[in-house]
Symmetry: C2
Subunit: 250 residues, 2 copies
DNA sequence: CGCAAATTTGAGAGCATTCAACTCCTGTGG
DNA sequence: CCACAGGAGTTGAATGCTCTCAAATTTGCG
């Protein structure tokens, strides 16, 4: 039902409902107009469509406008790792600035659209608009934070905690975007979740079943309803088992 | 006894041997002079000294000048994860820009010194100097890349591959700084290595012993000599003995 | 409606962890 | 200079979490 789609999606940053989550945040109306001039809107792309490939030269960065995408990096041995799921208002391709070539491949998880920001122009504009410069740095910094939290997850948490963390994280981000925090549709496959969390697909499947048994949530395919996010949070923060005692009944 | 110390360490960016690895890279002499004016040099700090704590308000970012430091993030449950080891020329505290408070704690691994860059002044200056702005973005982007490679490591690689990757990575970065790529001293404890790689201390210890048995390297305490980095690389990229691809999806 | 892909479920194996004991450093004080 | 304390690092054994393999079942889509 509820998807990652946002309803009011206008063409210009000025009237975009994502304004406060995206690059425009904190910019004056006139500066916004200048930003608007360099933004290229792309027509929606379908599921599985690739926005750009790892290794390609980077000329633009992108902001998710609607839908959702995943970014993946390939290891030398062919293994691939999903480094993030991105919702509307989030910037992608920021890792490309370092070398001028994309360090990840970005793929649409569902029908999605993005705004394209030609980097040279964005860079120039950010020299003239302090608010834009700050916000660009902030968003890059936020990406670093995200990755470091993900590192903490893979390095310190067990399977149960990882899945709970992801669900709560998605929930919070959807809520930020005006959607339900408790009921949503996962736009990514189980395999994507597993890969992102460094787990096997089967483990994710089993855990979702267990969470449901324990009354933490309800899951039907990709439709998820969080029933007890407080206990989910407890699961993440405290020792495993602390939140759940299946001793209670034989 | 090669350490992470660099030999020629002058006070000004202009004559700093790390110029090309650090923020000054690609800047003209006159722009460099302006950067120099805002940089505050700090006296060396000893082992275990904390440069800043997670949660503290951020007013400056820092560049490692000599020695080496680690950055760690604390989970809500008290568990902590080392998100990176930083060598001279590398910027730290970049994740703080998003919220204005430090997202990690930075601790010296050995006697080290850093350059302090007051963020407001740096931001202002980067509005005036395109080269500086670009380089700041590049270094932030590089940090994102680093974290994403680390994610790939924790998500896709087994213990053996993780340790090999770290050793090769350190080797390459030391070489960039004019030190030996094959013989170096680890400034971090086994426990730090284990934490960074998401492993138990005992596992790291066992692996180092095994690598030595296999003639890949020689290790005596924190002194490491890489004997066959080609084979180490092979270990990371393929998997010679156990031809099993770890973990789902390809 | 039917096939292919995605997901779930079950059973057994393996890699890494945990627990425990021991050894080796390193720095300190006699 | 050496003894000693305490942390750091190593080694061994056993448990366990998660993976792999295998097969059933459902879902999605043409």
């Amino acid at each position: 039902m509820a998807s990652f789609q946002l309803h009011e999606m206008r063409r210009a940053c000025t009237s975009c409902s994502l304004r406060e989550l995206c690059l425009p945040d904190g910019m004056s109306a006139e500066d916004l107009a200048r930003l608007d001039e360099i933004v290229m809107r792309r027509r929606p792309v379908g599921r599985q469509a690739v926005l750009f490939h790892q290794g390609e030269p980077m000329s633009s960065i992108y902001a998710v406008r609607s839908g959702s995408v995943k970014s993946t990096t390939l290891a030398t041995d062919g293994g691939e790792q999903i480094t993030g799921f991105h919702l509307p208002g989030e910037l992608i391709g920021l890792d490309a600035i370092a070398t001028g070539t994309h360090g990840c491949t970005v793929t649409a998880l569902e029908t999605s659209s993005v705004c394209e920001l030609p980097f040279d122009q964005l860079d120039m504009l950010s020299g003239q608009i302090p608010g834009l410069r700050r916000q660009l740095l902030r968003l890059m910094s936020r990406e670093i934070r995200h990755d470091q939290r993900a590192l903490l997850m893979l390095g310190q948490k067990n399977a149960e905690q990882r899945l709970a963390t992801l669900l709560l994280n998605l929930s919070a981000r959807l809520q930020q975007r005006g959607l339900s925090a408790t009921r949503f549709r996962l736009s990514m496959a189980r395999g994507d979740i597993a890969n992102y969390l460094g787990l096997a697909v089967e483990t994710v499947s089993r855990l979702l079943a267990r969470f449901q048994e324990q009354g933490l949530l309800q899951v039907a395919g990709r439709e998820v309803t969080l029933l007890d996010s407080a206990r989910l949070r407890l699961l993440v923060e405290c020792e495993p088992d602390a939140a759940v005692t299946h001793q209670g009944r034989g």
